[in-house]
């Protein structure tokens, strides 16, 4: 059975693991995407750059050829004459597969030489003596043109000559693609290296986590000692957090153990007494039935009345049982409350509350019970708002215990005290709650011990011995302080101070 459910859990875990997003995968994916984008940008730049570079280098050739042509233009008998030097085209022949087109014309006299249907107007506005480069389609191919215009003057005439020299783009494209290819290979290589580094890096980064995970997995059940493995700075906090968590867990476990022990202890005594009572009642009935002379063997104080007739005895015995049950029930409630308070203190964060609220609620709740016992409970307070940082439920439980305690001890002496006063007053940095009774009081030697668990000042008075321990827990948790004072002329005063919300920092 156990084995089977474990298997199911493992399967579910595996399913959950499959569904869960992978940190490493995300890391690698994001890294790869970023690198991909960068690589794409780089490739784009390279395309642009290689084109520019190829144009730059081949434009030099083109310019050189153009200037050589330009140098060989002259005016002979008012006629523009050009003698294209062989070297000009030898320069162009360095782009060995590229076709060459050119045109020389005079703005005044028209076409001089070259390809007559060539468009000799540059795309940019012409500037004299300034070489322009541009791409234009000619003879079914994209051609790179160099363009220049200049004045020719001699004493008799002045002419403007325009030279256009073009070269197809084959060599340029070849060079550009060669550059691009190399550069892209390089970029791809870098990108691959980067991605590999990311994959390796992700493994290295996550390894300390796996180590912590392994260390936790290998632990024996119930081993809550701090993890003791060397981890890098980045995971140190995680380790510390886990260790803190384990300390808290340990504390919780200890408290749970204590509580279980408390509860067992609390329940054992009343149960034993209940059993004794029930046994007594049974024996009485048996004795009544068999012989009137027989003596009851128990020593309980409640079975003193020998003279009482048997129905009365039975009634008495059952009444005792019921009382004992009430007591037990009260104890169980107390234990439950204590469990709830303890749980709340562990799990709930303290928040700003009005201190008066739980006090008032508690007083209202207790007033009637107290009256049943002949005690008048009164709340003295003229404050409007009393903000503290605390847990409302816990404080209410605390007040309930203090008041119950006060009421209980009011009736200890023969001279029955009839009053329990709850006072709330304000000081500069704190609120003070006083629970004053006029009962028998607590001797000074015992004052230090009343908050101990299961310590009971007087065993003749009903009580669990955990109420004040719980009060102390709550006080400690709130960072408040509690003092036990003597009431004048007699009795006990519990004095609790809660820091004001805004002064909390200063006090703690």
């Amino acid at each position: 059975m156990w084995q089977k459910s474990l298997n199911i859990n493992e399967e579910e875990e595996k399913k959950a693991l499959k569904k869960a997003p992978s940190l490493r995968f995300r890391f690698i994916l994001t890294g790869t995407l970023v690198i991909g984008v960068i690589a794409a940008l780089a490739v784009n730049l390279i395309f642009d750059y290689s084109q520019k570079l190829a144009d730059l280098s081949y434009d030099r050739l083109l310019r050189s050829a153009l200037l050589q042509m330009d140098e060989n233009i002259g005016l002979i008998r008012n006629e523009v004459s050009i003698d294209i030097p062989w070297s000009a085209f030898a320069t162009l022949a360095q782009a060995d597969e590229d076709r060459v087109f050119y045109k020389v014309e005079s703005l005044e006299k028209g076409f001089i030489t070259g390809y007559q249907d060539l468009n000799s107007l540059p795309p940019k506005p012409p500037v004299l003596d300034q070489v322009q480069f541009y791409n234009q389609e000619y003879s079914g191919e994209m051609v790179r043109f160099a363009w220049v215009e200049r004045h020719l003057t001699d004493p008799e005439t002045a002419q403007t000559v325009r030279i256009v020299l073009g070269q197809t783009r084959l060599s340029r494209e070849e060079m550009a693609s060669a550059i691009t290819q190399k550069a892209i290979q390089f970029v791809l290589f870098i990108a691959l290296v980067a991605i590999t580094l990311i994959i390796i890096g992700s493994h290295l980064v996550l390894r300390p986590l796996h180590r912590i995970e392994g260390a936790l997995e290998e632990r024996a059940m119930g081993d809550l000692t701090p993890i003791d493995i060397n981890t890098p700075k980045e995971t140190h906090h995680l380790k510390v957090a886990i260790n803190h968590f384990m300390v808290r867990l340990q504390k919780n476990l200890e408290q749970l153990e204590n509580y279980t022990a408390d509860a067992a202890h609390q329940l054992r005594t009343p149960l034993a007494s209940l059993r004794a009572l029930a046994e007594n009642a049974r024996d009485d009935i048996f004795a009544d039935k068999n012989s009137l002379g027989s003596q009851p063997s128990n020593s309980l104080p409640l079975s003193k009345g020998e003279s009482k007739s048997s129905p009365e005895k039975q009634y008495q015995a059952l009444d005792n049982i019921i009382k004992q049950c009430d007591g037990l029930s009260q104890t169980v409630t107390l234990l439950l409350n204590q469990a709830v308070v303890s749980h709340r203190l562990q799990t709930h964060r303290l928040e700003s509350i009005d201190l008066l609220e739980p006090i008032t609620a508690s007083c209202r709740e207790q007033a009637l019970t107290a009256l049943h016992q002949g005690v008048h409970l009164s709340l003295e307070c003229d404050l409007k708002q009393t903000l503290i940082l605390g847990d409302s439920f816990a404080i209410q439980q605390m007040m309930q215990n203090l008041i119950e305690n006060a009421v209980r001890y009011s009736g200890v002496d023969i001279e029955h005290a009839t009053e329990v006063i709850v006072q709330v007053s304000e000081f500069e940095t704190f609120y003070r709650i006083k629970v004053i009774d006029y009962g028998g009081g607590i001797p000074d030697v015992e004052k230090g011990r009343v908050f101990e668990r299961f310590y009971r000042g007087r065993y003749d008075i009903a009580g669990s011995g955990v109420g004040l321990a719980m009060v102390k827990d709550i006080i400690d948790h709130h960072g408040a302080r509690i003092v036990i004072l003597d009431t004048e002329p007699k009795g006990t005063t519990f004095q609790v101070d809660f820091a004001k919300y805004k002064y909390k920092e200063g006090l703690v």
Binding site: S81, I82, D83, I84, P85, W86, A88, F89, A90, L92, A93, D96, E97, D98, R99, V100, F101, V104, F111, I112, T113, G114, Y115, Q116, D117, S139, G140, E141
Partner: protein, 379 residues
């Protein structure tokens, strides 16, 4: 479209009308003449495919190669038209126009391959977009300086030579241009009207060689031209006519002749001697291209591969037809290996050739040539 430049401005510019107008007139005349002329056929009459070749290559040098090709490819029939280099240039452009005007192609078959020794004109055709790209393992094997843009492929590299009639030539045979000039000066009367060279207005390759001479050695070229002019040099359209006249003794010397033709004739004729000028020897390539609108580019490609193949290259060499382009096949002792006594000036197959064909430069060059030879005056 580019030849319009030439045509239009030949008409416009009155000062240089003669040379230019001639070209234009010729153009309109030769076309009709050419269409009328029946091509030479090679191969099986019933072959399924026909490959039209327009070529400025004498059949005497090319026939064996064409026959071998036809034997190797019985399904291809070759129609071979021998055309002057300059005519070939205009014809190729014209045929592109024919395509555009969609004139009946059967009456005017368009060539799928053109072969020329006027490298500059062929290169200009490629530059101006009249050729199509072709690539094969044979063209890839060809060195980069023997092809351009994978559209123009050279298959032969031959020297430009002088051919003399040993008996008729006065004095010592010239070794170079300087000694030729000296001979002309010393034997003025014997030389007058007895030197033949290309008419650069009629022959594309003639113009190319002249312009390359001017480029290589401008001063020598000027003096030579002056000497030619003062001694009434005879001008011809074609190499074989010059060679015929040198052989017959009408001429004592032919200047700037194609080495392949000259060597062929000199080998068979004792009267003739081929001289590779010692000062510099021009080296000329014969190149082929597939026109853009070629109707049968597949077979043109096959033929191109054949021209570049070991078979054809070896044939050129072994049978003394042409000087092959692939020196790796050359036999060191072969007479058809160029063994120039002086430096060689290989005419490079690249954009520089366009300079020689620059409209203004060409006009001026022809004009100067005419003045020097005093031909324009004569007309």
């Amino acid at each position: 479209m580019k030849h319009f430049t030439l045509k239009l401005f030949s008409l416009k510019s009155l000062s240089f009308k003669t040379g230019a107008v001639l070209i234009v007139l010729m153009m309109s005349v030769f076309c009709t003449k050419l269409w009328a002329q029946e091509p030479v056929w090679f191969g099986n009459k019933n072959a399924s495919r026909i490959l039209y070749i327009n070529s400025a290559l004498d059949l005497a040098s090319f026939e064996p190669i064409l026959n071998t090709f036809a034997a190797l490819h019985p399904d291809v029939r070759i129609a071979y038209r021998d055309v002057n280099t300059l005519d070939l240039y205009f014809l190729t452009i014209e045929q592109q126009a024919v395509e555009q005007q969609s004139i009946d192609k059967k009456a005017h078959p368009i060539a799928s391959l053109t072969i020329s020794s006027a490298m500059d004109l062929h290169l200009k055709l490629v530059n101006d977009g009249y050729a199509q790209t072709y690539q094969s393992s044979f063209t890839d094997r060809l060195a980069d300086n023997f092809k351009w843009r994978n559209q123009l492929f050279a298959f032969s590299l031959e020297p430009i030579v002088m051919l003399v009639n040993k008996q008729a030539f006065p004095g010592n045979l010239p070794e170079d241009r300087q000694s030729l000039l000296q001979t002309i000066r010393q034997n003025g009367d014997d030389i007058t009207k007895r030197i033949g060279t290309y008419d650069i207005r009629q022959s594309g390759v003639g113009y190319l060689l002249a312009s390359q001479d001017a480029r290589q050695a401008d001063a020598t070229w000027g003096r030579l031209l002056e000497a030619f002019g003062s001694h009434d040099v005879q001008t011809y359209c074609c190499t074989h006519q010059i060679i015929d006249d040198v052989a017959s003794g009408k001429l004592v010397l032919g200047y700037n002749l194609l080495g392949s033709y000259a060597s062929q004739r000199a080998r068979d004729d004792d009267r003739l001697k081929m001289i590779l000028p010692k000062d510099y020897t021009l080296m000329l390539m014969r190149a082929a291209l597939i026109p853009k609108n070629a109707p049968n580019p597949e077979d043109a490609g096959i033929f191109m591969d054949f021209l570049l193949s070991d078979t054809a290259q070896k044939m050129m060499q072994d049978q003394g037809l042409l000087f092959p382009i692939r020196p790796d096949l050359n036999n060191p002792n072969d007479p058809y290996v160029v063994d120039a006594p002086g430096p060689t000036g290989v005419i490079e197959l690249d954009q520089q050739l366009l300079v020689g064909r620059d409209y203004a430069k060409q006009k001026r060059f022809i004009h100067n040539w005419e003045i020097a030879l005093e031909i324009s005056k004569g007309e």
